[in-house]
Symmetry: C2
Subunit: 499 residues, 2 copies
């Protein structure tokens, strides 16, 4: 029996090598690769993904997993190993129904679609992207048909990003948020007009990078087990637990966005760096639940990072690196980083109106997969919803439907995770306050790493071995609810805006 | 028949994917990877190299190559395809005798040895590196025993880096160089003492990078098909013909070394970017002859780059980027970049004394592989030879035997290529002068790209499909000789040093 698990481990290792090269190639493609390398890179990625797929659905692996799944054998395994066997068996059963040729086809279409999206966004021309979007929608439907025959596609997609999540569970929570937050945003809007909270000037890029390094170190990112890079859009990439990378995009005229991107991606990276090493390079070794993952990045970014006490111990150092901030007292900085106002771009949105950006996208995905709305009608639908929820209408598709890359590579069902993450965050905040004490005090005393340690202990170390619902149950001891998030928003902005 | 070649092409593609990922992983490892990623990277590299090896020595491939090698089938192939079949068959026959387990073992030992070398160099402690060096010597001997049973190891190694080259051919040429250059260096030394040619100050790194970009563009590097990066040691890396990369290492206090590194690596890269696209990702698509490759990098670096006329069209731009050069007139710059004086570090050496750095290493390799001199005695032998040829004795192994990384990954037999490259360069200079006219004139008129075009046409486009001896024969129409190089040195330095 232990022999059979050893055999499994040999295959796990090989699978991890294919993941490793794909991740490295992706990082390289986004950070440095010249355009001339695109075609060969695309072919190489497709080949490696196909090889991984073949191994991951092989008869050899199936036999091993079947043996290890037998009751007696299974019971003798450690909980981590049980998770690995169960998860790999499920993945194999689902994926074995996908034709091999589909994998290469999907990979190639997705690379091409990503590139078309970039072009379309740059040219502000939805028509360039439309045929690729259609193709990706069709491929994603095709895939769902293989992996979950007869199931509702939207739920298959939601489950893919947050296991156990369905539209039945999401709908009432998102509706509650709409109902509670629309009046809050309106109230804030009445006060907001008087404020002027823009930072202006030219900010040295090298100094901004030093601020990023400072912030990452401050929250607990381990630079011996990770590095940073520059890409068009910030992201976190996990090659193995000793090599977790965050990227950022810097602007000479706007240093605050990149600071929060650093904190956000740092939150993702801290998660990946702190999974039990025993799980490294296995299906359990990286958190594959996007809501739970986003709950970490967004906890650091918003709950901690937009709390003025977060900045107290380090604001002086930031002023030393970016002297323009010397003219901005901390109290003004708090208002700048907590300015609530409707805007077009999701990634620039404040934490409150952000919720509507997600609800809009979720409803768009419902329109695509449940109501089969044609691609050509999507831009208009997008703009109507922006008007409905935030009272503003995009002047172009570049600041509307073309703004995010997610759909371009077929990541439908991903968006709700962001908001689920925030909902979880409200619940964590209650739990931390109960267990560690007042968060304002912890932050202002420079003890943020105590919170990181708590998150390591309660969430990170388990990787994927606990399902999202179990994480929430274990950490918070309560069923999922948007109430703590709404309460956090209401209390915080009532104070800041003197509502 | 055409079907059989199509089958071969499918395998060639797959082999190229494995090369692709190894190259990307190597670039990543040298430019950005955090230390925590080392172990998983090493395992992944070893796996990918093993997979490539298995495919490259498979029965399937053997059958295809055997079919295509039959006289009638072979004759019907184009010359490029003939080369591919012949070369792949030879590689397969040689490699099929290597046990698969050896490939992983070699890859792992070589990664560890490289790391030990880095540590040893940093700590200036040969003892850290010695056991790894012994291991690499033994592995290289073992490999030669598989690929070329019964042959002299040194010649196997020389042939590996410059096909067709043997110690019988190298010895008389290197001896001629020693004989002619020792008196020349002595004569220069008598004049050199009076000169003061150091550049001092602090040079902005970002500006130095702009100088690098300017130089690369100037000589013909295509940045749509390549990019740059920073590494401990400069190198060129070829992922495919659309993605050829050069790295550099910048120093705040010394901007000239990195300029010449850029020109040198640029020469390598221009070669790889200009191989016939038909050969891309095949065994013919990258030049695998190191002497021929070095002849390109060193032609740009020395024959062109150390010619004062090279700088005339661009010196003003460099002064604008690095204002410290405004105080240095071009005539003084010529003396700075052509200062001939014995020194310890090969990569810092001038083009004349450089020859001795190579002759020394070649003789060390003879001592290792022909005379079986124990590793423990190598540092002393190195120092003795430095004293004999250049009249100086390293104060430490870090500036002696530990300076180069080549031996750490088993690249024995590589060093002579550098000097062979220079010897070829002397011959090319004669050929270019005859066909294109006076090189000084071409350079001073800013027409350097005419020379690049000539090299593209005469050398680059063929990739590996012409053996080194054929390249020389075709380009120069003469047998190999050190005479043109000696004549170039003598004329140039007689003028500069007023001998």
């Amino acid at each position: 029996m232990s022999n059979t698990f050893n055999e499994l481990q040999e295959i796990i290792k090989k699978l991890s090598y294919y993941v490793h090269v794909s991740e490295v190639m992706y990082w390289d493609m986004r950070t440095v690769m010249p355009q001339g390398g695109f075609d060969d890179r695309m072919n190489t990625l497709a080949f490696m993904e196909t090889e991984r797929f073949k191994l991951g659905t092989s008869e050899e692996l199936k036999k091993i997993l079947d043996t290890l799944s037998k009751e007696e054998e299974f019971r003798a395994l450690s909980p981590n190993r049980q998770y690995i066997v169960k998860r790999m068996k499920r993945d194999l059963d689902e994926n074995a129904r996908i034709p091999v040729e589909f994998v290469g086809r999907f990979s190639e279409a997705s690379s091409k679609s990503e590139r078309a999206w970039e072009e379309a966004k740059r040219a502000n021309d939805f028509a360039i992207f439309a045929p690729h979007l259609e193709e990706m929608i069709s491929l994603v439907k095709e895939r769902a048909g293989y992996t979950h025959p007869g199931c509702e596609v939207l739920d298959v997609l939601l489950n893919e990003y947050e296991e156990g999540m369905t539209s039945d569970k999401i709908d009432p929570i998102f509706n509650e948020l709409k109902e509670k937050l629309i009046p809050l945003v309106r109230k804030i809007g009445e006060k907001e007009t008087a404020r002027n909270s823009v930072v202006s000037g030219s900010f040295d890029i090298e100094a901004q990078k030093k601020v990023q390094d400072l912030l990452l170190e401050y929250i607990g990112f381990n630079s011996d087990k990770g590095c940073t890079g520059e890409t068009e859009h910030p992201f976190t990439l996990n090659i193995c637990d000793g090599d977790v990378r965050v990227s950022n995009h810097f602007h000479e005229d706007e240093p605050i966005g990149p600071m929060f991107s650093a904190i956000h991606e740092g939150g993702h990276a801290i998660f990946e760096q702190n999974v039990d090493h025993e799980l490294n390079c296995t299906v359990g070794g990286s958190c594959s639940y996007y809501g739970i993952h986003e709950s970490q990045s967004r906890f650091y970014e918003n709950i901690l990072g937009r709390n003025i006490n977060f900045w107290k111990p380090i604001y002086g150092k930031i002023q030393a690196l970016l002297p323009q901030f010397e003219k901005i007292p901390l109290s003004q900085f708090e208002r700048i980083i907590n300015r609530v106002t409707p805007s077009f771009i999701r990634t620039d949105a404040d934490e409150v109106t952000y919720c509507f950006h997600i609800i809009l996208r979720y409803e768009m995905e419902k329109a695509i997969f449940r109501d089969n709305v044609p691609v050509s009608e999507l831009p208009l639908l997008w703009n109507k919803k922006m008007e409905e929820y935030l009272g503003i209408t995009p002047r172009s598709d570049a600041e509307g439907i073309l703004q995010d890359m997610h759909w371009s590579d077929g990541s439908f069902g991903y968006f709700p995770s962001y908001l689920l993450g925030s909902i979880y965050d409200g619940m964590y905040l209650d739990a931390i306050t109960e267990e560690l004490g007042d968060v304002d005090k912890i932050l202002s005393e420079g003890r943020i790493k105590e919170i990181t340690k708590w998150l390591n202990e309660k969430i990170h170390r388990f990787g994927s071995t606990r399902l999202p619902a179990d994480v929430i149950e274990n950490v918070c001891g309560k069923p999922l609810s948007a109430e703590p998030l709404v309460r956090y928003f209401t209390e915080k902005y009532t104070r800041i805006y003197d509502l």
